[in-house]
Amino acid sequence: MRNAVPLLQDYLRDTASRIPEKVALVHQNRRLTYRQFEQDSNALAHALVRAGVSRGDRVVVFADNSLESAIAFMAVLKANAVVSMVNPLTKGEKLAVLLRDCRARALVTQGDLAAAFSLAVRDYPGLATLIVAGDFDVSRHPGLPPLQTWQSALAGQPTDHAPPRKNIDIDLASIIYTSGTTGDPKGVMLTHRGMMTVATSVAAYLENVEDDVILGLLPFAFTYGIYQLITACLVGARLVLERSFSYPAQVLGTVVAEGITGFPGVPTIFAILSSIKNLDQYDFSTVRYVTNAAAALSTKHIEALKQIFPRAQIFSMYGQTECARATYLPPQDVERKPSSIGIAIPNTELWLVDEHDRKVGPGEVGQLIVRGATLMRGYWEKPEETAKKLRPGPLPGEVVLYTGDCCRMDEEGYFYFVSRMDDIIKSAGEKVAPKEVEHVIVNLPGVKEAAVVGVPDAILGQAVKAFVVLEEGISMTERQVVHECQKKLENFMVPKFVEFKTELPKTMTGKIKKTELA
């Protein structure tokens, strides 16, 4: 029987019953069919329930893009729990902060991240189970919570059905952590209905079909990354996972060998791609669409992409974790309006307001407001921050999203991104909160104050730069500052440049004047 109201994991179940033998996921030399994907996620869901995971509990998946992390994502949903995919670059202390913040009941991870997760779980006693995929020598990590290997967790569990279904579609499916201006990570709460609305809307304008072979290069911890998996399950496409774009030649070899049709990327990936020579040795004729999000693509890179992927349509898109996706530029308009972020995605409504909340017309700059079923339910246990972003909308009880991004609209209703209202840095498509980096630097012994800003960078979009003032008589090298940041922060947050100053420019009230730093 079909469920009257579908949930996100039904995309997998329904596709698995329709085309069970089709390969759903490819990772290096491993291939997983939809039947295996469905069965393994059923088994893991039962293992989670047996270990004590109940409806609404949070389960963190801390792993690279892999068959196991894709299976875990679906398994958590099938266990009626809420899944939070965490970036594998996260260091131990920060992982502990996230586990505590969402009061995670279980952690699914991989052995080669042991340095980070073993530290985090010792610091956080709330786990009912820790499930570790891949090689892991437990004897070297004493004092861990109840631990199961991937194989032992799945062994003997039912594979032909999921645990009893308890959620309804307004329940939470996922929490995605994002950096906020305060520097504390904020958990964006997303419902099944919200995520399904995004997936169907995006698949509609990208015209995704079963024959699509999508490149899964972007981390699952990233909204834009996890939706590649969801879209694949929705239409029965194949997702080919790659850990990152660090070895471009390998990824490009995969694009050719697997016959990739959809290439989702961010400007940093396209900047690296555009600079590679001898690309004509690759036959990219299978690629029918390229998507860009996270930051704007320069006209130069749009031109380069058209050369590299002669048969592909180029989609420039805009969104934020709080609504996943808000706009896309129809490919036929790329020539005409290369700098536009486009129009509202299907089933979303957009407008701009001034500082008095009055709608502004074409040509004027205003804050972008998003209305639709894609919106988050709010930030996890942060009602005040939620109230700033989600404010009353046109219908009684409804809220709309105040994006904090300033845009302009032209006479034809196409939007143009102008600026952010906060000081978040976008580096390599990732959000970096200056506060979070400043916090690490200021806490180093001998540092008096620090200010972190974004500076233009050809590959990263913006690079992180730290200005540091030392206490009297202290000496410190740039490398020491970088090294300390590397210990605590994800790689993309670590300053690329460090400059020592004797003082920082201040406003009348003593606040650091970042506009004078660069």
Partner: protein, 97 residues
């Protein structure tokens, strides 16, 4: 895409793979965060351990080009050449012999 090297082209032998590996290890240890450098096996995946990322690998390539005078072609940017200390040492040795 290469960060230009210092223009230094060494013609002499760079020593055996073990010496190359030691230079690479010391570069990695001083430029990237490695929780426990003694624990870094010479066949461990640099990407898998989260030691380098896509911009980090460009720094590694720039180091190889300036230290050993090799030129890393775009199509050689492969894990089999660059993703562990052993692979890098063997690659540099092949390139410079």
């Amino acid at each position: 895409m290469r960060v230009p090297n210092g223009g230094r082209r060494l013609t002499k032998d760079h020593g055996n793979e073990m010496e190359i590996a030691e230079k690479v290890r010391s570069f990695l240890t001083s430029n990237f965060y490695i929780a426990d450098p003694a624990e870094l096996a010479s066949d461990a995946s640099l990407l898998g351990r989260g030691i380098v990322d896509s911009t980090g690998i460009l720094e590694v390539v720039a180091f190889l080009e300036s230290e050993f005078g090799v030129t890393v072609a775009d199509e050689e940017m492969l894990p089999s050449n660059l993703d562990s200390i052993d692979n890098i040492a063997a690659y540099v040795r092949r390139k410079s012999s």
